[in-house]
């Protein structure tokens, strides 16, 4: 099909037939203000902020629902278009609460952005605002403020169209309209927290993140979710060296604009339980803190003694770089078998793969297959990033070994059976890469510093 040629703000643009004007504007690297339109959702055309002027058309048009035509001449910045958008902006704000100082969306709020861009410096509206429900529990994860809501219906459409869960709708009429959970229940979708991200204002907020931090104080780092082998791209928000939230980062080839709720909470494991902060060696039956030099010397000594009778368990939660190095160590020693602990997670058609290891593909490519090799007849084991806490028989087998080297992040039953313990770091504390279920290698970046002397396993 031949491309459609049109002129936008004086620039000639070629776009695919069937595109809308807003898509054409974005294709040229510009944008039109929008609230209800979202590239991953159907067009609803209700916010009316994306109005543009088109030559030959008597009225301003919403660019989100206007199909491109050859020879079309569009003005996104004409006086008429700007005036129409300014009118809509004024109306959006007349009943909107002025609670930006305590609103979680502040700093990433489209109302604030467009107000700044072309809003008024004052309001002509001198009446009490319409009052609606505040801090409504939509579920344990999502909190709703009806007064902040601009009724764009992105949340309704996300759940219906993407998550396949028709759980939200609008009730009442006119300026009494509110979003409500259908049939009076709570949100149940495992993807429900995406409604927080698609909400252009502060109406839908994360119960977990609420009031934790102003977003502009967050250190925002692009990384990969460690929750499953999909490898959803994420932006990790941290402050005070603490992880505070994970939100999806757009990647058309992996997760589009979305991620699952389970993935968002993977950061909780980092600070949960007892983290290992120093290398340990077993002296007379007890694990004692030591230096890296001593611990590494003890590790090398132990591994060498095992030789071919060493079994390696290298986690598929580690980065490619770490797996490669750990595998090299096993090669060097001549270990007889290696594998990684399989993990399952929820599985569906949207994102969740059912494989709870973020780097299972990377591990397999580097010769570390799924499954823990048998410890029968082995003298020693190198557990790198994985523990055997879930397997009572394997755990018991560790007791019979001459040497157990454990490199991990948390205190575990496996770790307490080790002779040498090397403190590792989580995927939020190191740089590296994961290979996702489709074989795509994606960069993992350090967000926060690890506790104590813990080091990435490649160091």
């Amino acid at each position: 099909m031949s491309m459609v040629k049109l002129t936008i703000d004086g620039c000639e643009v070629e776009v695919q037939p069937g595109s809308t004007v807003i898509q054409a504007v974005r294709a040229m690297g510009a944008d039109v203000p929008h609230y209800c339109w979202h590239p991953g959702l159907s067009v609803s055309g209700n916010c009316r902020i994306c109005l543009v002027e088109v030559e030959g058309m008597p009225t301003v048009q919403i660019s989100c629902n206007l199909g491109v035509r050859d020879g079309m001449v569009v003005h996104t910045q004409s006086a008429k278009a700007r005036a129409a958008r300014k009118d809509v902006m004024e109306l959006l704000l007349i009943n909107h609460p002025l609670d930006c100082p305590i609103c979680d969306q502040a700093g990433e709020c489209k109302l604030q952005e467009y107000s700044f861009e072309f809003g008024s410096d004052g309001s002509r509206f001198a009446f009490p605002k319409v009052h609606k429900q505040k801090h409504v529990r939509f579920s344990e994860k999502v909190t709703f403020d009806a007064e902040r809501c601009i009724l764009c219906t992105r949340c309704v459409r996300f759940l219906d169209e993407v998550a396949g869960a028709d759980e939200l709708d609008i009730v009442n009429r006119g300026d009494r309209n509110e979003i409500a959970v259908a049939r009076g229940g709570e949100l149940e979708s495992p993807y429900q927290m995406n409604v927080i991200d698609v909400c252009p204002v502060g109406a839908l907020t994360s119960t977990d993140f609420r009031f934790k931090s102003r977003v502009w104080f967050l250190k925002q780092t692009r990384s990969v979710c460690p929750g499953c082998s999909r490898g959803c791209n994420v932006t990790v928000g941290a402050r005070w060296n603490r992880l505070l939230r994970l939100v999806p980062a757009e990647n058309a080839a992996v997760n589009r604009w979305w991620m699952c709720d389970d993935g968002r909470f993977t950061y909780k494991a980092v600070a949960a339980g007892e983290r290992l902060g120093a290398p340990l060696v077993r002296r007379g039956g007890a694990l004692e803190e030591t230096t890296w030099d001593e611990a590494l010397a003890a590790a090398v000594d132990g591994l060498r003694k095992c030789g071919v009778d060493l079994v390696g368990v290298i986690s598929a939660r580690l980065t490619n770089e770490e797996i490669h190095l750990a595998a090299s160590v096993l090669d060097e020693v001549g270990a007889r078998a290696r594998g990684h602990v399989s993990r399952t997670c929820a599985q569906d058609d949207l994102l969740r793969t059912g494989d709870g290891n973020p780097n299972a593909a990377g591990a397999a490519l580097m010769g570390v297959p799924a499954g823990v090799p048998s410890l029968d007849g082995a003298k020693g084991a190198f557990l790198c990033g994985d523990d055997l806490d879930g397997d009572a028989a394997a755990l018991a087998a560790l007791d019979g070994l001459e040497f157990v080297l454990y490199a991990g992040t948390h205190e575990t039953a496996t770790m307490r059976r080790a002779h040498v313990v090397l403190p590792g770091v989580t995927s939020f504390e190191k740089d590296g890469s994961f290979t996702n279920v489709d074989g795509r290698v994606q960069r993992v970046q350090s967000v926060v510093a690890a506790p104590g002397d813990a080091l990435p396993d490649w160091k």
Binding site: V43, S44, G45, N46, C47, R48, I49, L51, P58, T59, V60, Q61, I62, N65, G67, A84, D87, V88, E90, L91, L92, I94, N95, R124, F125, F127, V130, I150, L151, D169, I170, N172, R173, G174, D175, R176, N177
Partner: protein, 441 residues
């Protein structure tokens, strides 16, 4: 003048319903027989040549609308009859539904034949129980005699006609809001494109016509194009049913020749003149949404073009008459309460703006406004919408804006007086009675 009614010819007096036998005795369903003997496109062509424009208010030529149905999509085609008649001041469609319902049913069947539909829905407002009962009773008769159903008039073609009862929302009279409502969803008007003729009910091609438009379609096919065009002019062909209400001696409906009947004649001849011997102040000619006309402007024929040239719209032919004692602030408060209440809330300007307009005019009404508030009201109306603005999906916001703008344009002195005299006459009288607790009527 001197017109013999067509739509209401042989209609029983108000309260009565023409039965199928009575209808047949006056040539009923002859139009359908004729239509079924014609090719569908020829029926459309006939309606096109007759020039009948949509009687629901927009005045779009019905034949052209029918011609928009795409051919061979593999999808069913639907007809939706807009019998919501939700525009304040309009009550003409109920005359057809209550008194001559078979004319409407015949019109539906003719239209279905023309557009290739086998199913028609008549969406009747819930506040019209008599109309619903009359159309249902007529449908029962028509089904029993084979005019409606699996084998229309024994010619093998299927056409089902169903009544769908509205639940009281003004916006469901907007054609795509009506479709959403029939589908069981919120009565939200839909963005266009897609246009209903391409994607309407359940994503299938759908034509939406007003009751009177469809009744006219039956008349056109029965009597022929020339006979139809003998009433009206080239701009507005055929007769018009007009509802006259407000400050007149004899409110009611009348079928007129729009080319030869002026608005003044509607009031003075057909409605017995302004009541109580008073002078006329203003007329809202097309239902509450259209611009108000001052008394001096009403010597124009009731055609779409003539009324538009005089600064208003013939719309859905609901002529609301206001006498000299009316304070236009009182009237506008009433209208703004209505539009604010009825906004579906989908589009920002309408959701937020109709409430703002009501608040502003109420403030003036209560004598709490200033002269600047009058200018602000005018300016906020422009912010919300207006004809040829395109700020909203449907015309509800514009329907609130048009009266506001025109009331201020023609009757600003009433607003100034309300500011200076501590409220409108009605408000002050109520307060005097100690009953002015709120703006509620």
């Amino acid at each position: 003048m001197g017109l013999s009614p067509r739509l209401l010819a042989h209609a029983p007096p108000i309260g009565g319903r023409q039965t199928l036998d009575e209808y047949l005795s006056h040539g009923g369903y002859e139009g359908l027989k004729k239509a079924l003997s014609m090719k569908p496109d020829d029926v459309t062509q006939m309606v096109l040549e007759a020039g009948v424009r949509g009687r629901g208010g927009a005045g779009f030529p019905a034949g052209r609308k029918w011609s928009f149905v795409p051919k061979n999509t593999g999808k069913p085609v639907y007809l939706a009859c807009n019998a919501d008649e939700s525009e304040p001041g309009c009550f003409k469609d109920r005359q057809i539904m209550e008194r001559v319902p078979h004319l409407l049913i015949e019109g539906c069947l003719v239209a279905c034949h023309a557009i290739g539909a086998e199913t028609a829905y008549i969406y009747i407002r819930g506040e019209y129980p008599q109309a619903i009962a009359a159309v249902e009773a007529a449908l029962d008769e028509a089904r029993a005699k084979g005019h409606v159903g699996a084998n229309v008039l024994g010619r093998g073609g299927r056409c089902d006609v169903w009544v769908h009862q509205g639940a009281g929302a003004y916006v469901c009279g907007e054609e795509t809001g009506l479709l959403s409502s029939i589908e069981g969803g919120r009565g939200y008007p839909r963005i266009k494109p897609p246009f209903p003729a391409v994607e309407g009910l359940w994503g299938c091609p759908t034509i939406i016509n007003n009751v009177e438009t469809l009744a006219n379609a039956a008349v056109i096919v029965r009597d022929g194009v020339e006979a139809f065009r003998s009433a009206g002019d080239d701009d507005t062909t055929g007769t018009r049913l007009v509802g006259i209400s407000g400050h007149v001696e004899k409110p009611g409906d009348v079928e007129i020749d729009p080319a030869t009947t002026t608005i003044r004649e509607l009031i003075e001849v057909h409605a017995g003149g302004v009541w109580k011997g008073r002078e006329l102040k203003a007329v809202i000619p097309g239902g509450s949404s259209v611009p108000v006309m001052p008394a001096a402007a009403i010597d124009v024929p009731f055609t779409y073009g003539a009324v538009q040239a005089a600064g208003s719209l013939a719309g859905a032919a609901g002529v609301i008459v206001l006498d000299e004692t009316t304070c236009m602030v009182d009237a506008l408060v009433n209208l703004m309460q209505f539009y604010h209440h009825e906004s579906c809330g989908q589009c920002t300007p309408c959701r937020e703006g109709t409430g703002w307009l009501e608040k502003l005019v109420t403030r003036i009404w209560r004598g709490e406004g200033t002269l600047r508030d009058i200018d602000l009201l005018d300016s906020v109306a422009d912010t919300v919408g207006g004809a040829q603005q395109g700020k909203t999906i449907c015309f509800l916001a514009d329907s609130a804006v048009m009266p506001t703008k025109s009331f201020l344009k023609h009757f600003r002195e009433d607003f100034v007086k309300a500011v200076e005299e501590g409220g409108s006459p009605v408000f002050r009288a109520r307060r005097k009675r100690g009953a002015a607790a709120g703006a509620g009527a």
